[in-house]
């Protein structure tokens, strides 16, 4: 695995050359190439500045055990917007659940302000892909629910709920139930609910995957605006590279089966950003190339393995082994 990662690093395209950009555009520093972190994984020490960190985390689930994550280490700085990107089923959501405290690692440590996480806590909120608003409560009651659990008084709840409804532009829909809201409105409601108790970190689990392109862009702007305004640390999981580049201060590439960190890309683009920026497009392309290389490498390894076993063992029809191990 280690050697393979090295080999992959050698194939990584060099930094895209900075193109002359029109003076009117904010000049993005596009010399930030993919920084391969494989060499640092072994001696990952807790970063004293980090608000949250994974230290050599592995996770296996099921019987027989299937390895979901293998030796994952990274840290999140306070106020940082970190995006996790990678192919589907790659354990990105599992990393989020670990940070939320909903899952415990098989080995390694998940740290929050230097202490191991031993369960969910209010300073780490989650926005789920399906919004997960409670259907039996109105939008207003949904947002007030975490406040009530946290012991806020009725007056405080009303005030904070109204503030949040205004923040996500849903004041008019305060009395609506989830099924009466559109997908985008539901996600905005879920974001408001997550922000209710002023968490230090918000974890987003592919929240816009089910939305159409325009709505997604609108909500990306909203998330950027809200996260900036509240100074919240954010970890945002997505399988869309442009979304990661659009929102992240840093993008982690997560490989699949088992999930592991393949690369760590700082995104030094000026904010507010737009998806179409030249710098953003170049970064998206270079990250896409990295991921494609990884996917191809995995596919090649799998195919080679199948060749080897079928030739040496029984010489049967090799076609039967194509895709073996997928």
């Amino acid at each position: 695995m280690y050697a393979a990662t090295k080999e992959w690093a050698a194939h990584a395209p060099s930094a895209p050359a900075a193109l002359p950009s029109p003076a009117s555009l904010p000049v993005p520093s596009v010399d930030s190439s993919v920084r391969v972190v494989a060499g640092e994984l072994g001696d990952a020490r807790p970063d004293p500045l980090a608000i949250a960190a994974l230290n050599g985390v592995s996770l296996s689930l099921g019987d027989p055990a299937v390895s979901i994550l293998e030796d994952v280490s990274f840290s999140v700085g306070p106020g940082e917007a970190l995006c996790l990107v990678g192919p589907s089923g790659g354990g990105k959501s599992t990393i989020l659940n670990l940070l939320a405290g909903l899952v415990s690692p098989t080995s390694g440590r998940v740290l929050w302000e230097g202490k191991p996480i031993d369960g969910p806590a209010r300073d780490r909120a989650v926005v789920f892909q399906d919004a997960a608003l409670f259907p039996w409560l109105t939008l207003e009651q949904n947002i007030a629910f975490p406040l009530e659990l946290a012991g806020f008084s009725k007056a405080e709840r009303r005030e904070r709920t109204e503030e949040l409804l205004r923040l996500v532009h849903l004041l008019k829909f305060r009395g609506s139930y989830a099924h009466e809201l559109s997908g985008g409105m539901r996600q905005r409601g879920a974001i408001a609910r997550a922000l209710a108790t002023k968490p230090r970190m918000v974890l987003f689990d592919e929240p816009f995957a089910a939305l159409d392109g325009q709505m997604r862009e609108l909500l990306q702007n909203e998330v950027e605006r809200i996260v900036r305004a509240t100074g919240t640390t954010m970890v945002f999981v997505t399988h869309q590279i442009d979304e990661a580049v659009r929102l992240g201060d840093r993008v982690l590439l997560i490989g699949a089966r088992p999930g592991r960190v393949l690369g760590d890309v700082p995104i030094d683009l000026a904010r507010p950003r737009r998806s179409g920026d030249a710098g953003a497009v170049r970064l998206v392309q270079s990250i896409a190339a990295e991921i494609r290389a990884e996917v191809e490498k995995v596919a090649r390894e799998e195919a080679d393995g199948a060749w080897g076993s079928s030739n040496s063992r029984d010489g049967s029809d090799t076609r039967r082994h194509l895709g073996g191990g997928i």
């Binding site: 939320a100 209010r122 989650v126 975490p146």
Partner: protein, 242 residues
Amino acid sequence: MTAAILVAIWAAASRLAASALFPGPLDVARSLAAAAAAGTLARAVLTSAIRLLVGYAIAIAIGVPLGLVLARSDATKRALGPLLLGLSSVPSICWLPLAIVWFGLSEAAIQVVIVLGAALPVTLATESAVRQLPPTIERAARTMGARGPTLIFRVLLPAAMPGIVTGAKMGWTFALRSLMAGELLFVSGGLGQLLETGRDLADTALVLGIVAVIVVLSRVSERILFGPLERAIARRWGTATS
């Protein structure tokens, strides 16, 4: 309208049969009016209703928590699941002989039958409703700090409410059936006994009248008990009302 046509057909058929064994709607109404005037009908309805409500309340009090435990604890599910599924295929009236041996010809014996009849569908419906909740509902609640009783009473049970109400409604029907079967079998003072009285006296008009009363009571009670709940659920979940 349809009811009027059906009653007209019934009246015509009864006239054609011209037999005391097949009374027409007028005979039935007359016989019911007589029972009502004598006070026997009201007393029987009241006796049966109280019995039913008590037994049903016990069944809900057992069924919902048991279903919840079955859904949340795999060990309990493995231990009790097959037993409960087996029991649910036994008509509850089959327990009456045993109940009579244990409790005698008493209120308790009928209650056993009602509770056994109603608790099982409520249990199974609650279990499947809680099991089928989207996992993110519970995860979201846990990240907000909901644990233990808060998680159960403020999140899991409300979230499972549509399924629980469906089960509770089924339980009500089962309770009513068990009650009638139980009341038929010994002197009990309820509607079932009034049916028996009708049979003893070969008063077919009274028997048919009581059947009509049972139909009406079961419909009306369902409306009263579940109508508001079902409307609230339809409003919140966006499902169609039945």
